[in-house]
Subunit: 258 residues, 4 copies
């Protein structure tokens, strides 16, 4: 599958402000950048630095006045996405060092609070079967409701309120997976099936020796997803961090499958 991605962002700044941007699709084994172009208006220079796990990049820049950015890319997705139910858990003592931090609780994913719940509801399952059951439970029990969550909302809040957006669905899945001692992280992605069109977020779980994309909203099969970056949770992969005051002007995200 080939995705055509077009993004436009505009913010008004009242003084020189540091920005950290993470919107470029990553060039990876399972997703190839065929074409990619990012442009800023009136920004003298910027610095691209590797993002978490060296998966994709972040861009540091300093802007003033009207900040405008356009990004266009064509990405070929060539991802074998096995049925998650068939995947085996990796025994804990065989987990690679770089997966360990994704067993631990993070800002929005306090997995340490959920061990009893996970043991009671999903403790009879293991590995991919357990993840699939958690994903299906979230999909069935939660409502996709824009506007009910904000930058303080954690997976614990979402778990209680049973509603949220893609960010919240991913946080709950990541949290419950970690509580089941399966490494799980948060992925910021593009996907064509998202309604309304926007940046999207899904979970990644470490099973059978690799990371696998899982979307509890049911919006985007793994074969259709272009990853931007990964991290412990949404705190690590915001599409834009503004270190100062800014007024929103405009934003559009378009993702089309050829």
């Amino acid at each position: 599958m080939i995705l055509n991605i077009d993004v436009h962002l505009a913010y008004q700044l009242s003084q020189p402000t540091d920005l950290l941007l993470q919107i470029e699709a990553a060039d990876l084994d399972d997703q190839t950048l065929l074409d990619s172009q990012i442009d800023f208006f009136d920004v003298p220079d910027f610095t691209r630095v590797p993002a978490d796990e060296a998966l994709g990049n972040r861009i540091w820049l300093k802007a003033d006045g009207l900040f405008r950015c356009t990004y266009s890319a064509r990405v070929q997705i060539a991802r074998s996405a096995p049925d998650v139910r068939t995947l085996e858990a990796v025994p804990l003592h065989l987990l690679p060092g770089d997966t360990v931090r994704y067993l631990m609780p993070s800002r929005y994913c306090p997995s340490d609070e959920f061990q009893t719940f996970v043991a009671a509801e999903f403790g009879h399952l293991r590995g991919g079967a357990q993840i699939a059951a958690i994903r299906d439970w979230i999909y069935g029990a939660f409502s996709y409701v824009p506007g009910v969550s904000n930058a303080q909302t954690t997976a614990l809040d979402s778990f209680v309120q049973r509603q949220g957006i893609c960010r919240d669905f991913a946080h709950v899945l990541v949290t419950l997976a970690r509580a089941a001692t399966i490494p799980a992280r948060f992925a910021s992605v593009y996907a064509p099936g998202v309604t309304p069109p926007d940046f999207h977020a899904v979970a990644e779980v470490y099973l059978d020796g690799g990371w696998h994309l899982v979307d509890a909203t049911g919006m985007s099969p793994a074969e259709t997803i272009a990853r931007i970056g990964v991290g412990a949770d949404a705190a690590s992969v915001a599409f834009l961090n503004i270190f100062g005051q800014a007024d929103f002007v405009a934003q559009s995200v378009s993702v089309r499958a050829e």
Copy 2:
């Protein structure tokens, strides 16, 4: 300075249980392992994996019955520890990629809540001078009180209650530093001046192009500290994670300067 470290741990397990141990002092440019010996009793084998930022190691093992571990090391500390007040902040858009995650909130360090407080109380300062002022404020306003915090206690709780142990002092410092947009992380360490003797924890801040140790408890100057590992907060560098049930039997930590 040369430190002699001796640790003994014992836990009773009722079934085969995965353990993740992080107690070995790291071998680094500014701290040289002269001697190091770790022993387990009745544990057939174990796996050492790199810890976060490849700074030090974690050990995976599977144990049953009485788990006992002894660790002894001699570590030469050769750290130039400049007065933190003299260190310059690195402009945000010049921060290396691998420091960015330490600008972001984490499980115990919800720095996103503290921007107004930091701006109001410490906004007139920059860089190392700002960190020193934060450190001195914590040292003056907080009481070192064992037993008031637990595994759920965040920097926000400690900030309100103004008491805690080394873990909590480090969390508050890390949180306020991040709110001031200075990368900060949590270090699990050995230090000779800790009373009562125990594992210790301090903050690390990124200033002038490097990481610098800062201890808000005032117990341990940077020149006397042997680092075990670093991470976003205490969730990332527990000395022992037990993935199951265990009964505490014994623990001793001794750190002596030669």
Copy 3:
């Protein structure tokens, strides 16, 4: 049923300290005090004031050194306890003024967070049938585990962790009832079936024009309960508030059915 209640409390105080005690069984229509005796040692005087809703009393006193209190009572319980499932909800606009505050969230019962959950899981039921379903769900899904909760633990924490003691079971029931717009409050009580013997706590719900006792732990039928006091949650009916420092010396609670 006649209950024989014997309580002994002892605390060591290091300076003159205000205490607020709420341990006397209330004399009510459905529970008659046959005999009641409270004694303090070395406390010059004390003041009995009405407790919340004028149901029972609190005792203010000022003590120093070793504070000892003994309380003995015989209470005749004559309570018709209908099957909660048969009780009708009172339409909201017909609720008496003094029940309204028990519709609202309180310190340990943030019912405002649970409206979606209650609507999804129990929204097909009304009144007593809804309360019975909530009670049975808590009883089935939660484990009675002493020591996992503390004075900060809210119903939200307990809901996530699915464990706790009588206080926590009552908080969750009160919270979910309020989220279902049924007035609910917390009752501090004595009951003979509590293991280990201790002060007990249950919920009260307002149905069919009266308050009805409901115990989600399953330990104590309504016919066997002697009420001490009621309030919004545990914050309102602690058996002892100590306004200062005190060391626990001893406590015993005995409740026997004649």
Copy 4:
């Protein structure tokens, strides 16, 4: 002082919905209702019930479609408002029974978390002098910023973020007063100096044998305030509780001094 109060509310309901309204100024010793008129459009009937502490009323009603309410009143304020600094604390063991619940933590006022802070910062003061110092500290350290708080925001959140609206200022004052063992409650009020014109909220503290109004926002002297109702915190005295879905249509509040 005589206040002229005019309120208009309009909400669109999609089905018959229970509403609980608390907007009528109370008729009290220190504020006399000279004139008062409330009208609903297309609401067949309603029930007035006493509010908390029998101070003022709440109105239950059931409405459908466009709900409109107009309220007009003239209130004569005749309140002797002594300098709060001159008021003596009532010794705890002499507090009346009906003030005790206002010593306890509530939904938005977790005073149990703030004892160390209050002791450290305000522990050298007593009674009204302590309340005045707390009020002045809040006034100086906090920013009045509409839109940063919502229905979940507690005094702990506001304390950390140091910003909010009248509700939040009152919550912090109530919380710190209770942590200082001075009974404190939340009052929903009208006052002429509020900018922009709206319902207002202040704290009440129990000193010298009576309740005294204190406004940490500095907007409204006690002599200019008309009380609607009181309660543990904002959860108890919302001007409107809607038990169902509603769309906001219009709201205006005008308070003018003759």
